[in-house]
């Protein structure tokens, strides 16, 4: 997919950063970053975690003031004392999890704090009409009267964009917007980005998803360790090239890490006709000892729901599960863990980590009972377990008694992962395990998955990153609308997988069922 080549609208850049420097005691987050964005341009901002992206976003949105350097808007120097000033200047930011007001309608969410009013009272019909017009202009199909509580994450993001526009934003920063979206929702969002560009809005797109960057941006700016290391036109670069610049090492290294050991023959997990009305239907698959099965599909396809049903979080209406050949009816996560199933949830902060608790307690949460005697805690076994696990996941050094919230995203994920490794599971289900973490931590997580598969654990990896799934899995399962729509043995054509995910008819019956 290529994006149309657009000539810059005006000579003068609409946003320009010059030699921005910013540090927090001891650490320089930005060391003289500078680049310019023309009006109506879509610029991708990429870089590893810690490269300085979010600091830059905070400076642009007025949350932080840079220690040194200048920020120019339409050629004039500006300094945002607070987020409000940035908003007034026409800069809006949209984050992964949009903040909406669940009890208010879509229209009210858009106009919160500045509803159209007539003689002091809110003019509801005017507000509805304006909201409808705005949504239509963006190509968003939403009823303005819907309570925001009923919206999906993707829809909430769209509302937030509409809100930003109605506030007169001319520069929109999208901070990792697609990490929680399905492929279809991503396409919808990218379409909206294109529409915004057509209307002259300038966009800065911050993401880890390089394929999206290639799809929708005009230029790409790469940050590494607080410096700008590349500023290229998208048409003149490639994903491989970008990764090289970002990380300094080839991506191919990961591909080479295919395991030597082949999966065993005995089936550890067998699922037959699993059904939960309204969520998934007639799901059947098998995972053998030491095998890695990747599960691909759109959000709403039911992958997480199947995983949560296998783990005892949600009920099952029909079908059966066999663990090592024996019937398994998961009653609760506790029961599932005891039976040898482990599940790394999708949302780390919500379901994975207890932020206030210490790192060591988070890491051993699943085995507290085991490490204790008659319910009374013993510290030494806990410390031993923690040391062992920390070594295995290569957790960053430091006191393990600090609160888990003090760790970076990648290390937090390692903490959550080690909690599951501690249970010595027979079946390890990972839901988007490399979500929103830096490349280094990603590599560690994938390495651990491979190690465990080699050791005989049956692994299921739910992922929306097709490249990753292809590299990692022995087989790929595709789900669509609650059903299994395809099953492939790797290596498999990317198109075949995508067709199965979207429910499009196969061009040629190659490599899999529909």
């Amino acid at each position: 997919m290529t994006q149309t080549d657009r000539p810059p609208q005006a000579q003068e850049p609409v946003v320009e950063l010059r030699d921005i420097r910013h540090g927090f005691e001891g650490v320089q987050a930005l060391r003289g970053v500078g680049f310019a964005v023309a009006a109506g341009e879509v610029v991708g901002l990429i870089g590893e975690n810690g490269a300085g992206k979010s600091t830059l976003v905070k400076i642009l949105t007025g949350v932080l003031q840079p220690d040194e350097g200048t920020l120019l808007l339409h050629g004039e120097e500006v300094r945002f004392a607070n987020p409000r000033a940035a908003r007034h200047a026409g800069i809006a930011a949209m984050y992964q999890e949009p903040l909406i007001f669940p009890d208010l309608s879509v229209a009210e969410n858009i106009f919160v704090g500045r509803q159209p009013s007539r003689s002091g009272f809110v003019d509801w019909s005017e507000m509805r009409d304006e909201a409808r017009a705005l949504l239509q202009r963006l190509g968003i199909e939403l009823d303005p009267g819907t309570p925001a509580r009923d919206l999906s994450v993707a829809e909430r993001q769209l509302v937030e964009i509409a809100k930003a526009l109605s506030l007169g934003a001319r520069i929109v920063l999208l901070d990792e917007p697609t990490a929680v979206l399905s492929a279809r929702e991503v396409d919808r969002l990218l379409e909206i980005v294109r529409r915004l560009r057509e209307q002259g809005i300038t966009l800065i797109y911050i993401t880890h998803r390089l394929d999206e960057v290639m799809q929708v941006t005009d230029r790409v700016v790469v940050l590494r360790d607080g410096e700008k290391v590349a500023d290229v036109r998208t048409a003149e670069t490639s994903i491989r090239e970008l990764v090289r610049v970002m990380v300094g090492q080839e991506l191919a290294a990961l591909e080479q890490r295919r395991r030597e050991a082949k999966p065993g023959d005995d089936v550890v997990l067998a699922v037959h006709g699993l059904t939960r009305y309204g969520y998934f239907e007639d799901v059947s698959f098998q995972v053998r000892r030491g095998e890695i099965v990747g599960v691909f599909g759109l959000v709403g396809a039911g992958r997480t729901e199947v995983a949560q049903a296998l783990f005892g979080i949600d009920p099952i209406d029909a079908g059966e599960i066999l663990l090592d050949g024996r019937p398994f009816v998961p009653r609760s996560p506790r029961h599932a863990i005891r039976s040898g199933v482990a599940y790394l949830p999708e949302n780390r902060l919500l379901n994975g980590l207890v932020a206030q608790l210490s790192i060591r307690l988070n890491m051993t949460m699943t085995i507290w009972q085991l490490l204790a005697r008659l319910g009374i805690v013993r510290e030494r076994p806990v410390d031993r377990a923690v040391d062992d696990l920390a070594g295995r996941v290569r957790l960053q050094r430091g006191s393990r008694r600090r609160a888990a919230s003090t760790l970076s995203g990648g290390n937090q994920q390692k903490v959550v992962l080690s909690k599951w490794l501690a249970t010595h599971p027979k079946v390890l289900i990972l839901d988007e395990p490399t979500h929103g973490i830096d490349v280094g931590a990603k590599a560690d997580v994938l390495r651990i998955v491979l190690e465990h598969a080699t050791a005989g654990v049956a692994v299921v990896v739910i992922s929306s990153e097709l490249e990753e799934i292809q590299d990692l899995s022995d087989r790929i399962l595709v789900m669509r609308a609650g059903r299994v729509s395809g099953e492939f043995v790797t290596p498999v054509e990317k198109d075949d997988v995508l067709h199965a995910a979207y429910g499009l008819q196969q061009r040629v019956a190659a490599g899999g069922a529909g």
């Binding site: 210490s358 699943t366 204790a372 009374i376 830096d438």
Partner: protein
């Protein structure tokens, strides 16, 4: 736990506050450091102490129970009625404790099993339990409990320390062990901090939270025994005035209103501070209501100090923080 550091700071502050107040009161009035006064201090603190110990784990687990005083009332009245019907007082006392557990369990069923907000439910059960208590007793009162009960509730061990204080401290020690040294206790903290993640990690959330409400009811039942033993009377509406002090003691003790942090020793220290404050003011001639004002002000002061400390620490940390990725 990583929270140990935070807790220690709070308890240190409490101890300092308590000792300072004690010193001040001793200097301000010669009547303060008499055995009579100190014993009254301890005796008066007993009922509130049990209530506070009971509700503290609930708050740590992320909920609240404002029916504790109503449960106290109902348990005392039932115990009195049962005794008056001819049953041995200690059997009646056992009934009170068991009833407390049942009442707590009822709260737990609505909050935990039906997943309803605890403030609203315990607001309702508070009314319900108080109402039932009134229905049972009407407007009358039961008094003149047997001397064995009175001895427990008002008597002194070795002519020095009240029995009730010894029991309170023993129970506090057991509860502290339960909350800080067992997997159950760790689960309570984890659940108070992040219930969803705790559930996903295989912690027995439902069982733990139900148990926490049962403990609250249990403590109310125990408090009932000591209420009868000290005040020697049971009538409708009793104990209602103890709700505020109990919650105050818990918050003053360092338990966060949002759950996830706090210690039992902190609650005990706060009980001591409050006792010194109220008894001391009483000795100095302040009325009961004026003492209550002082209690309110102390609560405000404690939280103001902690807020200020947090702000100061945050300002230092802001410059020390690394740039988030």
């Amino acid at each position: 736990m990583s929270l140990v550091r935070h807790a220690l700071r709070w308890e240190v502050g409490l101890t300092v506050l308590g000792l300072t107040l004690f010193a001040y009161m001793s200097l301000a009035s010669s009547d303060f450091v008499t055995s009579f006064t100190l014993q009254s201090l301890a005796l008066n603190a007993t009922v509130i102490g049990f209530l506070a110990l009971g509700v503290a784990p609930v708050i740590v687990s992320g909920d609240i129970d404002i029916s504790i005083a109503a449960m106290l009332g109902l348990c005392t009245i039932v115990m009195a009625e049962v005794w008056q019907a001819g049953v041995n007082i200690w059997v009646a006392a056992l009934v009170a404790v068991v009833l407390g557990c049942v009442l707590g369990l009822a709260n737990g069923i609505f909050v935990v099993l039906l997943e309803l907000p605890s403030l609203a439910i315990t607001l309702g059960s508070m009314g319900a339990y108080t109402g039932i208590a009134f229905l049972i007793l009407g407007g009358s009162a039961i008094t003149s409990f047997p001397s064995s009960l009175i001895t427990l509730g008002s008597g002194l061990a070795g002519n020095a320390v009240p029995w009730s204080t010894l029991v309170l401290l023993a129970v506090a020690a057991v509860l502290a062990f339960l909350l800080h040294r067992t997997t159950f206790g760790r689960a309570v903290f984890a659940i108070g901090s992040n219930k969803q993640a705790s559930r996903f990690s295989g912690l027995a959330v439902v069982r733990t939270k139900l148990l926490v409400f049962v403990i609250s009811g249990f403590m109310s039942g125990v408090a009932a025994i000591f209420y009868a033993g000290y005040f020697n009377t049971a009538q409708g509406g009793l104990g209602a005035e103890d709700l505020l002090p109990a919650i105050t003691v818990v918050i003053l003790g360092g338990v966060s209103a949002y759950g996830g942090t706090g210690t039992i020793p902190g609650v005990v220290l706060a009980l001591f501070v409050l006792g010194v404050l109220q008894t001391g003011l009483g000795v100095l001639g302040f009325s009961g209501q004026e003492q209550t004002i002082a209690v309110g002000l102390t609560l405000i002061l404690a939280l103001a100090v902690s807020a200020a400390a947090r702000a100061v620490r945050a300002r230092f940390a802001a410059s020390a923080a690394r740039a988030p990725a």
